[in-house]
């Protein structure tokens, strides 16, 4: 943290100065297999694009950027979703079968760059159910959008409150930095 403060003063890191306090702008990267479903929902919840107290409709999910709209070339691409109310930047990423190892990798790389504490990588796969996996596979992998999306959306609504729980934890962690 001390090195981050020094970098902040040098103007290297993104920082917010509020009166006589400061905090680092955190880059939160929600990741999952395809970067198309659970990570997008989590990012949308974090940004307030979806309401937390009720299940989203099909239209609300389909209106989200990137939701069930990605292609093979999007794997590995860190895509910007927006800025939250604390000025933290929210991203989504599809990392195929790397698992939570990806979180360690991202934070490890940030650390060697001297950006320790600036990046938070969140694995959303633990909140993904079998219906989201099957629906996502049908829709994105083999191109059967019609049955795939139906199963996917049902699965997403079933997993929704789990994802709400996840992002609430992350939002609190990002405020503590």
């Amino acid at each position: 943290m001390e090195s981050s403060l020094k970098q902040c003063i040098k103007g290297k890191n993104d920082c917010i100065v509020l009166e006589d306090t400061w905090r680092i702008v955190v880059k939160v990267i929600y990741h999952c297999f395809g970067g198309s479903h659970s990570s997008v929902i989590a990012a949308a919840l974090h940004l307030g694009l979806l309401e937390k107290h009720r299940l989203p409709t099909r239209q609300e999910l389909m209106a989200l950027p990137y939701f069930d709209k990605t292609h093979d070339e999007d794997f590995g691409t860190i895509r910007f979703m927006g800025v939250d109310s604390s000025a933290n930047e929210i991203y989504v990423l599809g990392r195929k079968s790397m698992g939570d190892r990806y979180s360690q990798m991202i934070t490890g790389v940030a650390k060697i760059l001297g950006a320790d504490g600036q990046v938070m990588a969140v694995d959303c796969m633990s909140r993904v159910n079998i219906f989201m996996k099957i629906g996502g596979f049908f829709s994105r992998r083999i191109g059967l959008v019609f049955p795939g999306r139906y199963i996917l959306i049902r699965g997403s609504r079933m997993a929704f409150m789990n994802l709400v729980n996840l992002i609430e934890t992350i939002r609190l962690k990002s405020l503590k930095v």
């Binding site: 990423l93 790397m98 990798m105 990046v119």
Partner: protein
């Protein structure tokens, strides 16, 4: 500057590449390389620090399993998002056919004869195209030198 040699694991081909870059690989005896085949270093997912060259460039290795290309893309984008560029972090993928088998062999428990088998079999596979890797690293070093010279000339002409 930092360099990350990105391979299937952090402790096989990428480690050899890093050692070649630093000039610390003697007689191609991989068992003498510190950490060679030690998958516990790879398991964490963090870049593994190998050493520093004469210019102060810090060298790391990182294992990405079968997703080296995707990982390389992500790290380069992360670098940009954090406000850094290739003058501060360079990612060099080092992959070859056979690396998947090495990863499979390395997933056997490391104790007694299994460790010996892991290192011996991995070494046999890695030595098959070692010359290619060496040429690749030499070309990589040359390109880094060229880029550094270009930047220095640019900086000098601005002054």
């Amino acid at each position: 500057m930092q360099i990350i040699f990105l391979g299937t694991t952090a402790v096989h081909r990428s480690l050899i590449a890093a050692a070649m870059y630093l000039g610390s690989l003697k007689d191609y005896d991989f068992s003498m390389l510190h950490g060679f085949g030690d998958m516990s270093a790879d398991l964490s997912g963090h870049p593994v620090y190998i050493g520093e060259d004469s210019d102060g460039t810090r060298v790391y290795t990182l294992g990405a399993g079968s997703e080296v290309e995707i990982t390389c893309k992500s790290i380069e984008q992360l670098r940009g998002i954090l406000g850094y560029d290739e003058t501060e972090l360079v990612i060099k993928p080092v992959v070859s056919p056979g690396d998947g088998i090495i990863k499979l062999i390395s997933s056997f428990p490391i104790a007694g004869i299994e460790k010996y088998l892991n290192i011996t079999l991995s070494s046999i596979i890695l030595k098959r195209n070692l010359d290619e890797l060496e040429q690749d690293i030499i070309a990589f070093k040359k390109s880094l030198k060229r880029e550094r010279k270009k930047r220095e000339q640019k900086a000098a002409s601005r002054n």
